[in-house]
């Protein structure tokens, strides 16, 4: 296993941190946060253009250097397979045939929990249509396996609800998904702080995708750097192989012999 590179579909990446571009104060902050995060993949949403906009007004894509990062258009806000497929077909047209996409189909506007049955339908249609589908899903390991069998290129289970920052609520399900998947497993949604990302990587995730945890930090640019290190720390700890936990009996770090007052 190489700690440096990982592959999604036909593309290879070094950074294991994928970041979103929503909720920033302005595009300049977005740009700095991306840069500080070291991310090589950044997600974007697809929305109707604002018709009243002046031609001179800046747009997000002006702030992203596509030579350095890969765009990952998503289907945020879609509640049906139809909408999601349509949105990504538009995204492909918009991005000159770009085929790597993030599929998410939501099931409920209050929780933003995914609708896994619609997600399965959309995934199948998108794969048929030539897309490389990174798929946002719940932590249901049976659904995750089915998405893999359909031909997705990355499985992206939630840690907790989108925008909640609650961290990994059910590490057991996540572990089953990781153990059973041949694909990259990327925690998407729910990371709230650096240690959440470290934990995900220590469990054996291949990468972490986040947006709010950076954009809604008090200092987003500082948090972007923290997340970069957090993901690297988690990955390196996973590769280094942690010590075993011992509930107790405790084991001293210093030698038990040679003491001035030897223990009975």
């Amino acid at each position: 296993m190489n700690s440096k590179n990982f592959t999604i579909g036909t593309r290879s990446f070094t950074s294991r941190l994928i970041v979103g571009t929503g909720k920033y104060k302005n595009f300049s902050e977005t740009q700095s946060a991306i840069k500080n995060s070291g991310a090589e993949i950044v997600t974007v949403a697809i929305r109707r253009t604002n018709l009243g906009q002046k031609p001179s007004e800046p747009s997000l894509l002006d702030y992203i250097d596509r030579d350095l990062v890969t765009l990952l258009p998503n289907t945020a806000g879609c509640y049906s397979a139809d909408e999601a497929v349509r949105t990504l077909q538009l995204a492909r047209e918009l991005l000159d045939g770009h085929d790597l996409v993030k599929l998410e189909v939501l099931g409920d506007p209050t929780t933003l929990f995914p609708n896994v049955t619609e997600t399965l339908i959309a995934a199948e249609r998108l794969i048929q249509d030539g897309f490389q589908v990174m798929v946002y899903t719940s932590d249901d390991p049976v659904i995750a396996k089915r998405l893999e069998e359909l031909g997705c290129v990355a499985i992206m289970p939630l840690a907790s609800l989108i925008g909640s920052g609650m961290g990994i609520l059910n590490p057991w399900n996540l572990k089953i998904i990781i153990d059973n998947s041949m694909l990259p497993v990327i925690v998407d949604a729910g990371v709230g702080t650096a240690s959440d990302a470290t934990i995900a990587m220590e469990m054996g995730c291949d990468a972490v995708l986040m947006n709010t945890a950076i954009a809604a930090a008090k200092d987003p640019i500082g948090m972007a750097g923290a997340m970069r290190k957090a993901v690297e720390a988690g990955r390196e700890a996973f590769l280094a192989g942690r010590m075993a936990k011992k509930a107790y009996q405790a084991s001293p770090s210093s030698p038990k012999t040679g003491l001035l007052t030897p223990q009975g």
Partner: protein
């Protein structure tokens, strides 16, 4: 004159307006966008050859910040 729907709002255009000139008039020529007419994606190469018809439903989308 034809009446079309653009991004959910009603707009009145000259007869025989091409997609190209619509984009131009909207100030979107230099923007990265994609266009759907009546749920069919229109590829960029065809912007000058397609003219808009009465009741056409046009969607013009772009990339925005999202997670």
């Amino acid at each position: 004159m034809v009446e079309v729907w653009i991004n959910g709002g009603s707009v009145t255009l000259e007869d025989n307006t091409s997609v190209d000139s619509l984009i131009d008039s909207l100030g979107l020529s230099d923007r990265k966008i994609a266009i759907e007419i009546n749920h069919q994606i229109v590829s960029r190469s065809r912007y000058d050859s397609i003219t808009l018809k009465h009741k056409d439903k046009i969607e013009i989308v772009t990339a925005v910040g999202g997670g």
